[in-house]
């Protein structure tokens, strides 16, 4: 343990770090369009011509995530509504508590704090949690073609006492299943479902944001036919226009659906209208100096074919 050190070290080290940051990290300045294009990593947009999902857009978060529906599909037991206000509805079942935010298409199911955890593993136990998560999301009415697995990750914890120099060994707290929404292989930004299971595979939490989409497919802009070079050119022009030319590392391209909020249907329910855009990650904007400041990685989002002004 060295945490009680007090010295004048900080002043010297901060100066050294800052000088190092400024000196070592001075990026190559691609002054031209060609310079930026040379930094483009287009592997994420190659071979991703849109096969826009041609099925139904009937998923309605305003009803599908209601406690009445979510009780059976998510919790496997009836949810009793407790409170309703303009921001959220709360409910509970014998084992779970539930929050529903209809306007956002969001839901939060969690094992109740006042109920002792009991083993109730899903089929297959820990090995079955991905299938279980997909099954529960589909049971809410989400079409399977939209559901994509990002990762199954272990949630670990370690403890460290103030008077100790050795942390405890990593302990498995839970399994996390990250699901995202993909239409024709392109991720829909902001739609995500994260399911949490105990180490034995008992569902303890589902954090879901899966908003309704505008049910009229023609209202979504897929930017069909945008080739990798066109995507790269649009990004390069945007970076020059916005002065973001100080890129030291690669510019990593990917497609993603970005959304605007709209109201649809006779009941004017909230939904998303999508546009397929190019996401450019300005990876390692500057080389990181040893033991110094690191810059947050900027992500630019560019419409490769913006609609003509009226």
């Amino acid at each position: 343990m060295t945490r009680n050190h007090r010295s004048s070290y900080a002043a010297a080290s901060v100066l050294a770090l800052a000088v190092g940051f400024a000196a070592q990290s001075a990026p190559a300045q691609p002054a031209s369009l060609a310079g930026l294009l040379a930094k483009m990593d287009k592997s994420g947009v190659v071979g991703k011509e849109p096969a826009f999902y041609s099925g139904t857009f009937a998923w309605n978060a305003s009803t599908a995530l209601s406690p009445a529906r979510a009780g059976g599909a998510l919790a496997g037991e009836a949810l009793e509504t407790l409170t309703v206000d303009p921001r959220r509805t709360t409910a509970r079942s014998p084992h779970y508590r539930y929050e529903w935010r209809p306007a956002a298409g969001a839901a939060f199911l969690q094992w109740r704090e006042d109920v002792p955890p009991s083993p109730y593993p899903v089929p297959g136990g820990p090995a079955g949690v991905v299938d279980d998560a997909v099954r529960r999301l589909a049971a809410l009415g989400v079409v399977r073609e939209e559901i994509a697995l990002v990762r199954r990750l272990p949630l670990l914890s370690q403890a460290l006492a103030e008077d100790s120099s050795t942390p405890t060994a990593p302990r498995l707290e839970a399994w996390k299943v990250f699901l995202e929404r993909r239409l024709g292989g392109t991720a829909v930004e902001g739609s995500r479902a994260v399911f949490t299971y105990t180490p034995d595979g008992t569902l303890t939490k589902a954090l879901i944001r899966w908003p309704s989409l505008d049910p009229d497919p023609s209202h979504h802009r897929t930017n069909a036919g945008v080739a990798p070079n066109e995507a790269a050119l649009a990004v390069a022009r945007y970076l020059i226009e916005t002065g973001q030319t100080d890129v030291g590392g690669a510019i990593v391209l990917d497609f993603s659906f970005r959304s605007e909020d709209v109201l649809v249907g006779a009941e004017q329910r909230p939904a998303l209208r999508l546009t397929r855009k190019v996401e450019a990650t300005l990876d390692e904007a500057r080389p990181a100096p040893e033991d110094g400041l690191h810059e947050r990685i900027r992500v630019a989002v560019v419409d490769p074919r913006p609609p003509a002004l009226p």
């Binding site: 956002a104 969690q110 370690q158 103030e162 390692e284 033991d291 810059e295 947050r296 900027r298």
Partner: protein, 328 residues
């Protein structure tokens, strides 16, 4: 008092939101005193608001501008979404009933806001200054960050938008060892801090006890949320942060942070690895706060607990830029 009335939101104030219209959030409070004093002299003094300590408070600090201002000598790149994160804190906590919410951006963010005078630094002002991080219950900082891990110590550091009073250049880059101390002034002090910056809750710093320095054993501060390795500045992250706030007023203040801010973009060795560090007396206390603490009730197991234990939560195998892969 006058500056709070002009800059902050009070539950006793009229329903309009003066902070939003003030357009002074990028000017540090001390630099507004002259104008505010003049306003008071002109009869604009408004009385009757409750003291800040009697209510829930949240403050958001976000720096986008690094290429101008007192700290431009560091040579960092401008960001795009930091002010939006601060806006979200200002808006959502007000909507959820917090009595006072505040935002500061760019030049309004300096070392005084996150440094403590008890650490024997002359610019420490985080709890004496009504607008400092330690005057609120929940505080957010969005900026560039980093960590140091060598014989001199283990800590995270953060780049400010302004060097503050006294032109002390050290206040541009305060760190968790020499400068930060939260929850050390009384019942109204900070309990939760969200540090949206690279290496802000870095595993290597935690393993060597580096974050014990930000709290006191008998203080109120209990939850430090941040990232191991690099973090991202994109609209997607901003939207996930909005979801995180909306979801975490009752429960999940730690667990939801990890669920919402995890990111696995195209490419390799570039995951965003959110981490949560909880301070408590027993492991069960930490676990309870991680899963069942919320912005409304904050430390579920009681603010009287001794914070002599630190527990970190992370995703095993998460592999960020600028940081080793987390244990699996």
């Amino acid at each position: 008092m006058a500056r709070r009335l002009l800059l902050d939101r009070f539950d006793a104030a009229p329903p309009t939101r003066p902070a939003e219209e003030s357009d002074m959030s990028n000017v540090h409070p001390s630099r507004r005193w002259a104008g505010l004093a003049a306003a008071a002299a002109l009869g604009l003094w408004l009385g009757g608001a409750r003291p800040a300590s009697a209510q829930d408070e949240a403050v958001g600090f976000g720096v986008d501008e690094f290429t101008s201002g007192d700290c431009d000598w560091v040579g960092a790149t401008d960001l795009n979404h930091s002010a939006e994160w601060a806006d979200l804190v200002d808006d959502i906590f007000a909507d959820e009933g917090f009595g006072q919410t505040t935002k500061w951006i760019d030049g309004g963010v300096d070392g005084r806001d996150f440094t403590d005078v008890s650490k024997e630094i002359d610019f420490g002002d985080d709890d004496d200054d009504d607008n400092g991080a330690d005057h609120a219950d929940v505080a957010l900082l969005v900026t560039h960050g980093g960590h140091v891990h060598d014989a001199g110590g283990y800590y995270s550091e953060f780049l400010m938008g302004d060097e503050g009073e006294g032109d002390d250049w050290l206040s541009c880059v305060p760190n968790t060892r020499e400068h930060f101390l939260l929850g050390n002034g009384g019942a109204d002090d900070a309990e939760i801090a969200i540090l949206a910056a690279c290496q802000s809750a870095h595993y290597d710093v935690w393993t060597d006890g580096g974050y014990f320095d930000v709290r006191l054993r008998d203080g109120t501060f209990n939850t430090w949320l941040g990232f191991h390795g690099n973090s991202y500045d994109g609209s997607e992250d901003r939207n996930h942060f909005e979801n995180y706030l909306e979801d975490s007023f009752s429960n999940g203040v730690g667990d939801n942070w990890l669920d919402e801010l995890y990111r696995n973009p195209w490419g390799s060795d570039n995951e965003q690895c959110p981490t949560a560090v909880i301070f408590c007396e027993t492991e069960n206390d930490c676990i309870t706060q991680f899963y069942f603490g919320g912005f409304q009730d904050r430390f579920k197991v009681g603010t009287s607990d001794t914070k002599s234990l630190s527990k970190i939560f992370y995703f095993g195998g998460c592999n960020p830029g600028a940081g080793p892969t987390l244990p699996n």
